[in-house]
């Protein structure tokens, strides 16, 4: 508990210091609980997520960094490796390939990379995975783009 708190505090300071280093990622720690973080990530360019801003929720276990953080999308996203309802993410480094050398920041980077490179063979969203697996890239992209517009873009007033 003490170790995880100290480590998270280090990450917090790092995030404050490097705020401008990665403009695609904005990590924020909960005011009252250092084990709860949220992140805003920009959809990568040349993907159906371009132009969207996606919110992630981090729940960090007390054994962190020996155990990975639990991360899910709060913003709806149509992606083969993200559960459409719960926002759960299927990504190796968040499960068996976790290593304590990852940080919340680098996890965000890995999620952005996953957005750009879906892995349709381990789908959490079957509709999305099936579209890609059947070779219907256009169909997949138009669905994904539609949900990006609906859920991840600020409404024009």
């Amino acid at each position: 508990m003490q170790a995880s708190r100290a480590r998270l505090f280090k990450e917090y300071k790092e995030v404050q210091r490097e705020k401008s280093a990665d403009p695609d990622i904005q990590l924020v720690c909960d005011d009252s609980n250092i084990f709860k973080w949220t992140a805003l990530i920009k959809g990568p360019s040349e993907t159906p997520y371009e132009g969207g801003v996606f919110q992630l929720a981090f729940a960090i276990p007390e054994q962190y960094p020996l155990l990975p953080p639990q991360v899910r999308f709060l913003t709806k996203i149509f992606h083969p490796n993200v559960h459409f309802k719960t926002g759960e993410i299927c990504l190796d480094i968040l499960k068996n390939a976790w290593s304590p050398a990852w940080t919340l920041q680098s996890v965000c980077r890995a999620i952005i990379a996953l957005m750009a490179h879906p892995e349709p063979d381990s789908p959490l969203n079957c509709d999305s995975g099936n579209l890609l697996r059947s070779g219907d890239v256009r169909g997949f992209q138009s669905m994904a783009r539609m949900y990006t517009r609906l859920a991840a873009m600020p409404k024009k007033t």
Binding site: A3, R7, S99, A101, H117
Partner: protein
């Protein structure tokens, strides 16, 4: 960084080796590590040539090599390497997009290149504390990565791999190389 055995490169995608590289390139790196990665690439060039470019480029090149390359020297090398691939005509657009990706990197001032690597390497990757100054026991794993003894022990007692490079660092729950 140990070069990967050549025979592993044929199935670099989805393999453990792949995770190793993916991991390595996603964390902050310094120039030295950067050029090491490129050296590995060159070392494995012949094998890489035989991987279909579409496999290579989408996951491998973008992720593993280019994603974290910030340094002009390394970028130049990456270009050269990229140009060395013999590729079918239809892969041209893919090549262009990789080039675009490379162009997107902001080049650091020359002065930044001269500086010795940042203190990143002197931190314990488990607790992110500096290795020195803290007066705690350190342990060097077989791969030469150094951690606080208590930090790495907690990890290797369950996983047996180095958090930074995933080399199998321990057998039978004992750290092979002695404390420094």
């Amino acid at each position: 960084m140990e070069p990967l055995p050549k025979k592993q490169w044929g199935k670099v995608i989805n393999s453990a080796a792949f995770c190793y590289y993916k991991f390595d390139l996603l964390r902050p790196i310094n120039l030295e590590e950067c050029t090491d990665a490129i050296k590995d690439l060159e070392y494995n060039h012949d094998v890489l040539r035989n991987i279909p470019l579409e496999d290579l480029s989408s996951w491998w090149l973008k992720h593993l090599v280019i994603y974290r390359l910030k340094y002009p020297l390394a970028i130049r090398k990456a270009y050269r390497l990229l140009d060395g691939f013999t590729k079918p005509a239809e892969a041209e657009s893919e090549k262009k997009s990789i080039h675009r990706l490379l162009d997107g990197f902001t080049k650091p001032a020359e002065a930044d290149l001269e500086k010795p690597s940042t203190d990143e390497s002197e931190k314990c990757a488990v607790c992110l504390d500096k290795l020195e100054e803290t007066g705690r026991n350190q342990t060097r794993l077989v791969c030469n990565h150094i951690y606080h003894e208590d930090c790495i022990f907690k990890w290797v007692s369950n996983h047996k791999t180095c958090p930074l490079c995933r080399v199998v660092a321990v057998r039978d729950c004992a750290i092979i190389s002695p404390q420094i």
